[in-house]
């Protein structure tokens, strides 16, 4: 059973295979969306093209993966806090020395390349959360310790919001998934979803009608569940929270949100038609994906993405190329591969012998899930435009490297599990 000692012997073949398939597909799509018309241009693998640079990023990412597999598995748990502090400092540094690109300080220039610390902060936070939760049993620890766990994602969220980069900050809410697995209250998550729904509805419905409906539902709940202990108390608490939420949304919408953010929300909720301005990206992206049809137009045959109709087509909107050129079949394949990867990670996480490895696995699954969920939903108009990359597909070295590191630390932890006595 034990194949202790072999470096690659215990590596999970499925994860590594899916990883290479996704990275290869990603590159092919970046190539397609940035190469232009092939007959006219010579394919140029130098650093002057996006697909040429992506090749370099891939090589570096593979090297990172290889190094991670070589190091001692103990190292990650031991150094997790150090790594976490290091990357938090980097997030502070980017606010000071960062390059300002379209209104946000998200990049640090290193030579001719720029790195995005927010991308790397994800695996650092995952390591720290795993370490802390493995040392403190969530179900049994004190409230104080519980609150400390939340601090690990909240610090990077705060720093990233200062850049500001709301999209990257949002991803840190994926840590709710490992927390839930370790005993975080399910009803709190349900309450969270309820509040999100309430926020969305408060844009669409008059706030007094909405609160009236909430009140009726709560009365109904109290009547139906009258045997449950403290049900009346809960109902009142929920109602107070609802009122506070609806009114603070109202205030925040009028006084805090920027006009372009308001536009995005209004367009998403169908309150506003605007195919020229803020709705342009989503509109064009939906046309591109929709025009792919069932079977797609064929690789390199997409026109929307090639004709620059879709902005950011090789980064945040890379899924348009998949949708247009490979159609529903291709979209299904990509979604299927991601779902397979995420579920595979969860299954492997469950077979870990250490809590650290298991929790880290859930962190990885959660981060991948959030990225895929938000990114693809955005391109098809299910979510507002939130600029976060699609793992392995979106052009960019920082995201490819951080996802690779994130995933291969887990692959290493899994391969190393037999070494733990």
């Amino acid at each position: 059973m034990s194949r202790r000692g072999a470096v690659f012997g215990n590596v999970d073949k499925w994860i590594v295979a899916v990883y290479f398939i996704l990275v290869a597909m990603g590159w092919l799509n970046i190539f397609s969306s940035t190469c232009g018309i092939i007959e006219e241009q010579t394919v140029n693998f130098s650093l002057s093209t996006d697909y040429g640079r992506q090749m370099v990023f891939m090589a570096v990412a593979f090297l990172c993966a290889f190094i991670i597999l070589l190091v001692d598995g103990k190292l990650f748990a031991q150094t997790s806090y150090v790594i976490y502090v290091l990357f938090c400092l980097l997030l502070v540094a980017v606010l000071v020395v960062g390059e300002e690109v379209s209104g946000a300080r998200s990049w640090i220039k290193v030579g001719s390349f720029s790195i995005q610390p927010a991308e790397f902060a994800k695996f650092a936070t995952a390591l720290a959360v795993s370490r802390y939760l493995s040392d403190h049993d969530y179900s049994k620890c004190s409230l104080q310790n519980k609150l400390l766990v939340y601090l690990f994602p909240l610090i990077p969220i705060g720093l990233i919001m200062l850049e500001p980069d709301a999209g990257s900050a949002l991803v840190f809410f994926s840590f709710l998934i490992p927390l839930f697995r370790e005993g975080f209250s399910g009803s709190l998550i349900v309450l969270g979803f309820y509040l999100i729904l309430l926020v969305l509805l408060s844009f669409l419905i008059d706030k007094y009608i909405l609160l009236g409906a909430v009140l009726l539902l709560l009365i109904l709940m109290v009547v139906l569940l009258r045997r449950t202990r403290h049900i009346f108390r809960y109902a009142i608490l929920i109602f107070i929270v609802s009122v506070a939420t609806v009114f603070s949304v109202d205030y925040g919408y009028e006084h805090i949100l920027q006009p372009h953010q308001k536009d995005r929300i209004e367009i998403l909720l169908g309150m506003k038609q605007d195919i020229k301005g803020a709705g342009y990206n989503v509109h064009q992206s939906k046309i591109a994906i929709g025009s792919g049809g069932f079977a797609g137009k064929g690789y390199l045959k997409g026109t929307k993405t090639k004709f620059d109709f879709v902005p950011e087509q090789q980064t945040d909107f890379i899924f348009c190329t998949v949708g247009e050129e490979e159609g529903f079949i291709g979209s299904l394949a990509v979604l299927g591969l991601f779902l397979f990867l995420i579920i595979r990670i969860i299954i492997i996480a469950e077979r870990q012998r250490t809590k650290f490895s298991r929790i880290y696995g859930y962190c990885v699954a959660g981060i991948f899930f959030f990225h895929v969920w938000i990114n693809i939903s955005m391109t098809i108009g299910l979510m507002p435009v939130i600029g976060i990359p699609l793992p392995f597909f979106s052009y960019g070295g920082s995201s490819l490297m951080s996802f690779t590191i994130l995933l291969f630390i887990f692959v290493k932890l899994d391969a190393y599990r037999y070494d733990i006595l």
Partner: protein, 609 residues
């Protein structure tokens, strides 16, 4: 410590199913939405040809210009741009045929195509611009053969009267530099580059509209997107009504042919500019269309005639004897002379400035104006300056009073790039004569409008208007009304400037100016039957032949036109400038010219090639 072995019993282990279930449901929702837009909903692929939505810009026509009698002075003419989408140009593209069709050399076409490629391979850009309607007819018929080429209608300016180039200005495509400071413009837009086109750009330009059109992969239009509901109509720019009388302008340019100089005519009651001629001029239609850059080059490099220079506002001349009007007024105002004060004139023997005219002596201000007597005005000027505590104080008061007539400054109106001229003051002479060693006699040339003083023809015409109004003027301006859909804006009619000379002194000066045309220096060409004209000649000495100057207004009672004429390097004001001014006045007040002999003489006077 960190590597505690996981207990097999874990109460939360079953939560993995909830998590996997939740993630699966989200993926399912995404998949359903994808299925909906990719497979079920057909609106994203109107047909198999992969339509895209393309925004087509609709360019507005610029606002039109009318003259004071509602004659259309500047209008728009349809032209066509040929756009190219470089990646649509396939190997099968018949370059030879296309070049023949459009009428260009093959290498010009290739060079232009390269430029467009550099801008974008996938977006259309202008290949050849401003093709006339006539040429377009033939091109359009054959255009279906050429994939990747499309037609974009534009409008360019047309000047039916072919006059007024300097004041109207020109329109051209925005430059890269302009774009940097004006982000509201896009490449390919037009903007006013000079004259009124530039000054009134914000009113004239209008609003661009857009049409959303479905196109297939071959850029072929397939119809309106959402049946045109998202389309925005272009809004025509606002029209301008000018103060100009276009017929007077045409006549002025005709009279000034073959001469260097300018004519400015102002309505004294409103300050409106009736005509502004700068000769030599050019047909404004030359700077429109495909020949624009070639013609512009020729005009800009004509160093002999300098046709692009607007002499009426940029030409600075000493005013010569025409400035005696001001010096007379100033003497009366300060009180060093009265209407009866007489000075002796020794004629050609007079010192230090001689008099070239033969007249009675001694004489008072009215006669002195009529005879343009140099010694009278020298004495008046020196005595007036000396009546102050020092020459400096005196000269500064003189300069302030001159400036109150609009000399030495530019007007606050829609006239751009006007020169200020120069009214020297004490500081000016302190700089020239170190240790302030200058006296009234040092600067006595100013008494006859010579020396350091410089004025523009526009300032002279405004001066004539101020005298006509007996002490005030309204800023000279071109535009009477801006016609917006909501309102009619009158931008410059209320700015009255009071001069520092009292109204009561003007009647003596006017009397003298009237006598100038009756029996004085302008008697030969300055008389029109039935109209009392007040005027003053000037003959300005300079390096070459003298500049001829004449300022005038008419009728004497209730003046309707004030005018200044400068003819460079011609000779006496009475011979070269007076007939031009009197013909203009006659044409404006009577609507026709009966003195055909004078007209013929002016038209036949050719001082330049």
């Amino acid at each position: 410590m960190h590597s505690k072995v996981v207990m097999r019993k874990d109460i939360n282990e079953n939560r993995k199913y909830l998590i996997i279930g939740f993630i699966s449901i989200i993926f399912l929702v995404i998949l359903i939405k994808l299925f909906a837009i990719q497979v079920i909903n057909k609106s994203y692929k109107t047909d198999a040809a992969n339509n895209s939505i393309k925004e087509k810009v609709i360019y507005p026509g610029r606002g039109l210009f009318y003259d004071r009698n509602n004659n259309l002075v500047v209008c728009n003419e349809a032209v066509y741009d040929l756009l190219v989408t470089p990646n649509m140009i396939s190997k099968k593209f018949d370059t030879t045929g296309f070049c023949k069709l459009v009428g260009v050399e093959k290498d010009v076409f290739i060079e232009k195509l390269q430029k467009c490629k550099k801008y974008s391979r996938y977006k259309s850009s202008v290949l050849f611009s401003q093709i006339s309607k006539e040429d377009m007819g033939a091109i359009e018929e054959a255009l279906y053969k050429y994939d990747g080429i499309e037609v974009q209608p534009r409008t360019v300016r047309k000047y039916p009267y072919s006059v007024g180039a300097h004041m109207l200005g020109d329109v051209g495509e925005v430059s890269d530099r302009f774009l940097k400071s004006h982000p509201e413009y896009k490449m390919g837009d037009y903007t006013g580059l000079s004259g009124l086109e530039k000054t009134y750009e914000s009113y004239l330009k209008g609003e661009k509209g857009s049409k959303y059109i479905l196109v297939d992969v071959h850029n072929v239009e397939k119809g309106h997107y959402e049946s045109g509901q998202q389309d925005v109509a272009a809004q025509q720019g606002f029209d301008l009504i000018l103060e100009m009388d276009i017929n007077l302008q045409v006549y002025g340019e005709l009279l000034m042919q073959g001469k260097k100089g300018s004519v400015v005519a102002i309505d004294p009651k409103t300050g409106g500019i009736l005509a502004m001629v700068s000769a030599p001029s050019y047909d404004p239609n030359l700077l429109v269309g495909r020949e624009r850059s070639k013609n512009y080059y020729l005009l800009a490099h004509d160093s002999v005639n300098v046709p692009l220079l607007n002499r009426a506002i940029m030409g600075e001349y000493p005013p010569g004897s025409s400035f005696k009007i001001f010096n007379g007024l100033y003497g009366l105002q300060v009180g060093t002379i009265t209407p009866n004060t007489k000075y002796y004139c020794a004629g050609p023997e007079a010192k230090p400035i001689k008099c070239t005219h033969h007249h009675e002596s001694p004489l008072a201000v009215v006669s002195a104006i009529r005879e343009s007597c140099n010694p009278f005005f020298r004495s008046t000027f020196e005595n007036t300056i000396n009546s102050f505590s020092s020459p400096s104080v005196g000269l500064d008061d003189w300069a302030q009073t001159a400036k109150s007539f609009g000399f030495g400054t530019s007007f606050n109106s829609d006239i751009s790039n006007a020169k200020n001229g120069l009214i020297p003051d004490s500081k000016y002479y302190d700089n020239i004569y170190k240790n302030k060693q200058w006296k009234s006699s040092t600067i006595r040339s100013l008494s006859i409008g010579q020396g350091e003083i410089l004025v523009t023809p526009l300032q002279l015409a405004n001066f004539a208007a101020a005298v006509a109004n007996e002490g005030y003027y309204i800023d000279p301006h071109f535009v009477r009304y801006i016609i917006t859909p909501e309102d009619t804006i009158a931008p410059y009619q209320n700015s009255i400037h009071q001069t520092k000379v009292d109204k009561k002194y003007f009647k003596y000066i006017k009397e003298g100016m009237h006598e100038v045309t009756l029996s004085g220096t302008a008697r030969i060409y300055g008389q029109i039957e039935g109209i009392d004209i007040c005027g003053k000649t000037g003959t300005v000495q300079n390096a070459g032949r003298n500049h001829a100057i004449f300022i005038a207004f008419a009728p004497m009672e209730d003046p309707e036109i004030a005018i200044a004429v400068v003819v460079e390097n011609s000779g006496y004001g009475s011979v070269y400038a007076v007939p031009v001014a009197s013909l203009m006045i006659e044409y404006y007040l009577k609507g026709e010219v009966t003195r055909t002999r004078v007209e013929k003489m002016v038209l036949e006077t050719k001082l330049i090639q």
